[in-house]
């Protein structure tokens, strides 16, 4: 059965960028639609129900974070934001408001397509796949066993939880705050030190070379990402 072609809504006020994105995406057989401003994007999203939205943070009418928030009020479709360098705060705000991942301009088509694929993928919760395999790591969610190259790894409950959440978002970025809140709870959103220490320990256990992490990647200033092969 033919899979329905996925449609992607491109939101950016720069025509050149829209053209590039469109070309890159249609080359992968996606359908594309375009919007040049926030309000327009929300209207099109409501009426056309795309499968993914690529959203620039700097829009003429509303800022991207606000658009994300409004979109999230009626849809859970993946949102990838386009940001510029050194706007960490905006990136984090957008991610916390519900965006799934980000791309820093300028970016290449390879990065773009990889993110797009990941964005759809991580919508599949860990519940549907009992075992997660990525490279040398395998996680058995039912039995709560983690293996590295078939060697069982002993993780603390916290470390396991962190890994599980990372797997849920596999390929995509999760902000510090999100990670803290999902693992520890609402009020722990700022306990960065605690998070870093745990990540450090986790890395030591599951990374072949902890000094040069292969799986758990630090997104500077933003959060962490579990890289998938």
């Amino acid at each position: 059965m033919d899979e329905k072609r996925k449609s992607i809504l491109i939101v950016d006020d720069e025509e050149a960028i829209r053209q590039f994105l469109s070309v890159a995406l249609t080359s992968q057989n996606y359908l594309t639609a375009e919007a040049t401003a926030g309000q327009e994007a929300i209207i099109i999203a409501k009426s056309n129900l795309p499968d993914l939205i690529i959203l620039d943070l700097l829009l003429p009418d509303l800022d991207g974070v606000e658009v994300t928030r409004q979109l999230r009020q009626f849809t859970q479709i993946p949102i990838i934001i386009l940001s510029v360098r050194d706007s960490e705060k905006d990136k984090i705000a957008a991610l916390d408001a519900g965006a799934d991942d980000y791309l820093t301009k300028p970016f290449g088509s390879g990065e773009l397509l990889a993110r797009v694929r990941v964005a759809w993928r991580h919508k599949s919760p860990s519940l549907s796949e009992p075992v997660f395999i990525n490279g040398d790591i395998s996680v058995d969610f039912a039995k709560r066993i983690v293996r590295l190259s078939d060697q069982e790894v002993q993780l603390t409950p916290t470390e396991y939880d962190i890994l599980r959440i990372l797997v849920n978002h596999a390929g995509g970025v999760i902000t510090h705050r999100q990670l803290l809140q999902e693992v520890w709870g609402e009020q722990y959103g700022d306990e960065l030190h605690m998070l870093h220490v745990n990540i450090s320990n986790l890395r030591r256990k599951i990374e072949p070379d902890p000094a040069r992490p292969h799986y758990i990647i630090t997104e500077p200033g933003v959060g962490y990402r579990l890289k998938i092969e």
């Binding site: 960490e88 220490v197 000094a211 992490p213 630090t218």
Partner: protein, 896 residues
């Protein structure tokens, strides 16, 4: 100026134009002059004013009616500014309220009695100065004046009336009048009015009223008044003719030289000379000549010389101090150099023994200046104007006399003791000795006393017949006589010698002071050190505290004081006076006519560019007036200071301008370099893409591949460059926000290597971190970037496959990181410079890059209060050492 040119002098014309321009802004002064009290000056003035009332805004600033009804009637419809009440010694005096009139700012102000002296505590000592301020403010003034109050006519008036006027005004105050209105009344009528009681008698002539108001006197005075008015007309006519370029009898650039000699008649000479100069329309110079003979001058002579010079300056002469072997020589040389046309010398009628010096001088001058006209003016000496001896002087004289007597007694006593051992002719030496001592320490008078007394006593006690004044032997008589003569001569010479030494010493001190100030200023190189030197030297020389006022901001008149003594308090009065001196560019304060009761003398510092500040000398209480020499010295100080301060201000400005220029140049160079670096990648990108686009260009797959790759690489390079430039400019602007969070060192290094991506595969990278490294509070992204830049460098400047070591360890209060490569290293002279903007060590092979990587790294590290240095690795290669502190600097508030 030649003497046969009758064309109008361009300088004079220019002066006239400028004066005219000034006059249009300055108020016009009309003086109503009369020859005596009672001729009706005030009445006429008020009459004039009332006539103008309808056209102009007229205000009565001060009018003295002396109770006369007819005068008072004229005041009725005129607006009167209330007088200021000034208390002085328990009496309430009324004076012109200058500030009220200035505030009211009428078109025309009526000010009676031009020559009036203001009560102590007023801003100016004399009313004519108040009028001057009104004129400066653009207010026209009518005023009245009696002819006898004119300074240059004072001695003539005295000759005529035998009354020496104390209240006078300088001739300059009259010269500046736009109009002189002569108020005349035939003397007979005036005398009649006097008899009718209609004339107010000023106090000074009250006792001599009948004598003053004799017809002969009045006529003479009347003539003087008329002549003054006529002179003015003459002057105006001359000016008019000059303007119209009419040839006529105007002065053809005459220059008058007046020689002042130490003679009490000199002030009269000055006045006479001035009249002569005015009549001739000549520029006049008053000179004093110092010759070797000048050291014989007495204190009184010097004082009268000073008086004469001060007067001459007031009357508008140029003062010149000359030095020379003889007076005639000095005068002759000066006359030749400055094109003097006429010489004026004074000759006192009395011929004392001092005329030994005087007579030949005149003859010599005549002889040496045969081609010049020489005027010899005879003048009567002035009435006694010597300073009163103060009480202290009297007591000092008494004390010296007593000491003299003591000396004689001492000499006698010793002689008595040695009477039998020495012959009288030897004993007499003791008396001689005492004479010398007296001359050296007690003064001329006491030493002559000692001399005479000594002779008498010696005669009485030691010359046979003893105990009598008779002299037995003629030889003894001769000895006694010689003793007396020698004693007197020694007294005279020694006291002269002492005076000379004192003067020379004083002069030397002053010169030394000026010299040392000059020396200080030559080495000073900042405004503060200049001011310090000036203030310090002033304190040494003048025994008073000095203050320099400089404008706080250029162009504005808010003066800020600079003090040498921090305990000194600057009062509002001081500031006000300084501001006044600054604005009006006049020397005021103690010893002058304006604000004479202030505690300091304020000298504006004037340079070619204008007034740049005020120099104030606070004098310790109770000092007498400054001599003209001290005043000159102070002015010399002020001038020197002015030039020095201006110099340093100018050099500061110059330096600022140079810095601006230098930074502009640098900016331009940078812009040029950046623009080149930015454009270069675009060349390849556009070139590659346009080739791909061009249908005419046939490309095989391989070529297409190459072009695309080139474009991609260059685009990335451009991105990298832009990023670096933006980062650097943000660092420099200080807008970098550091968001500190505890970060793991391992994570930092790992992320940095991750960001470098594929490039790390070309080298061997070894990481060695001590266990349990603490978390450092840093901005994660920024430190990662710094590490990326450093590693990028290491990768670029070391050969493929070589080792790059990254080490991290704990240190006191922080952590240390080391990144070492095995590349070519950095020349030791460049180790400091590699962190500079756009710095690139010269390499044989071309290495791409912006030269900003390490600069940005350093900026980031230092913003975290860390340190970064470059070293050469023993064995080849470079080590970059970074240290980062653990302690965060205290933040305004921190979330715990």
């Amino acid at each position: 100026m030649t003497q046969d040119d009758t064309r109008p002098n361009p300088d004079e014309l220019l002066a006239k134009v400028t004066a005219e321009a000034k006059q249009s802004r300055r108020g016009r002064l009309k003086i109503f002059i009369g020859y005596a009290a009672g001729v009706g000056k005030t009445y006429t003035m008020l009459d004039f004013a009332r006539q103008r009332k309808n056209e102009r805004d007229v205000v009565v600033a001060y009018v003295e009616t002396h109770g006369r009804q007819e005068t008072e009637a004229l005041l009725e419809d005129l607006e009167i500014v209330p007088r200021k009440k000034v208390e002085y010694r328990g009496v309430i005096l009324e004076e012109l309220d200058l500030d009220a009139v200035l505030a009211r700012h009428p078109d025309l102000a009526i000010v009676d009695e031009y020559a009036h002296t203001n009560a102590p505590g007023s801003r100016h000592a004399k009313r004519y100065q108040d009028v001057e301020e009104l004129l400066d403010a653009g207010i026209d003034v009518y005023t009245t004046l009696n002819i006898q109050h004119v300074e240059s006519l004072r001695n003539v008036v005295a000759q005529v009336t035998d009354v020496w006027m104390r209240e006078t005004i300088p001739d300059s105050a009259i010269d500046q009048a736009t109009d002189i209105e002569l108020v005349d009344l035939p003397p007979d009528e005036l005398i009649k009015r006097l008899k009718d009681g209609k004339v107010y008698i000023p106090d000074q002539i009250a006792q001599a009223t009948s004598q003053f108001f004799r017809k002969g006197n009045l006529t003479a005075l009347r003539e003087m008044a008329m002549r003054l008015a006529a002179q003015r007309v003459d002057e105006q006519m001359r000016v008019y003719m000059e303007e119209k370029s009419i040839r006529g009898p105007w002065p053809t650039g005459e220059r008058l030289l007046v020689w002042i000699s130490p003679d009490a008649a000199s002030t009269n000479l000055v006045r006479n000379a001035r009249r002569l100069a005015v009549q001739m329309g000549a520029e006049w110079f008053v000179i004093r000549v110092e010759t070797p003979a000048s050291v014989h001058l007495s204190a009184e002579q010097i004082e009268s010389l000073n008086n004469a010079l001060q007067l001459a300056e007031k009357l508008g002469a140029r003062i010149v101090n000359l030095q020379g072997q003889t007076v005639a020589e000095a005068i002759g040389e000066y006359s030749r150099k400055h094109n003097i046309s006429k010489i004026v010398i004074g000759r006192a009628p009395r011929l004392g023994w001092k005329e030994w010096f005087r007579g030949p001088a005149i003859n010599q001058i005549i002889r040496k200046n045969r081609d010049l006209d020489i005027f010899i003016i005879r003048s009567k000496p002035e009435p006694h104007q010597k300073a009163r001896k103060t009480a202290s002087r009297l007591s000092r004289n008494l004390r010296n006399t007593l000491l003299a007597l003591l000396l004689v007694g001492l000499a006698t006593g010793v002689s008595e003791l040695l009477r039998n051992l020495l012959a009288p002719t030897n004993l007499v030496m003791l008396y001689l000795l005492s004479t010398i001592v007296a001359a050296l320490y007690l003064g001329l008078g006491p030493s002559i006393l000692v001399s005479i007394l000594g002779v008498l006593i010696f005669d009485f006690l030691f010359v046979p017949p003893y105990l009598s004044f008779a002299v037995a032997d003629f030889g003894f008589f001769l000895s006694l006589l010689s003793l007396l003569v020698v004693g007197i001569i020694i007294s005279y010479l020694t006291s002269q010698f002492r005076r000379q030494t004192e003067t020379a010493w004083q002069r030397e001190r002053q010169t030394a002071a000026l010299y040392s100030l000059g020396k200080d200023l030559a080495v000073a190189n900042s405004l503060e050190s200049y001011l310090d030197s000036i203030l310090k030297r002033t304190r040494d020389t003048f025994t008073g505290e000095a203050v320099i006022f400089l404008p706080g901001s250029p162009g504005k008149i808010d003066l800020q004081p600079y003090l040498s003594n921090p305990n000194l308090k600057i009062t509002e009065n001081d500031l006000a006076a300084a501001n006044w001196a600054f604005q009006h560019q006049k020397i005021i304060g103690r010893g002058t006519d304006t604000l004479p009761n202030s505690r300091a003398r304020y000298l504006p510092l004037i340079t070619a560019r204008g007034v740049i500040g005020v120099f104030a000398l606070l004098e310790p209480d109770g000092t007498s007036e400054l001599t003209i020499e001290q005043e000159r010295l102070m002015e010399a100080y002020a001038d020197l200071s002015a030039v020095a301060i201006e110099g340093i201000l100018l050099s500061q400005e110059t330096r600022k301008i140079e810095l601006l220029k230098a930074s502009e140049k640098l900016q331009n160079a940078l812009l040029g370099s950046i623009s080149h670096d930015l454009r270069t990648p675009l060349v390849s990108i556009i070139g590659a893409l346009s080739s791909l686009q061009d249908a005419k260009v046939k490309l095989d797959e391989k070529s297409v591949d190459i072009l695309v790759r080139v474009a991609r690489v260059e685009a990335e390079r451009l991105n990298h460059l832009i990023t670096n430039l933006l980062d650097e400019s943000r660092l420099e602007a200080g807008t970098l926000k550091i968001n500190r969070q505890p970060a793991e060192v391992q994570d930092l290094i790992g992320t940095a290597l991750e960001q470098l991506g594929q490039r790390t595969t070309s080298h061997q990278i070894k990481i060695k971190l001590t266990a349990e490294l603490p978390f450092v509070p840093v901005d994660f992204a920024l430190i990662v970037q710094a590490l990326v830049n450093i590693l990028d460098n290491a990768l670029k400047y070391s050969p493929s496959g070589s080792l790059i070591e990254i080490e991290g360890r704990s240190a006191e209060k922080g952590i240390e990181l080391e990144i070492a490569d095995r590349g070519v290293g950095i020349p030791s002279s460049d180790l400091e410079h590699v962190f500079e903007k756009f710095y690139r060590v010269h390499r044989p092979e071309k290495v791409t890059g912006t030269g900003l990587g390490l600069t940005i790294a350093r900026g980031i590290i230092e913003a975290h209060e860390g340190r970064i240095i470059a070293e050469n690795r023993p064995g080849g290669g470079t080590i970059i050492r970074i240290s980062l502190p653990l302690a965060e600097p205290p933040l305004p508030h921190q979330k715990i």
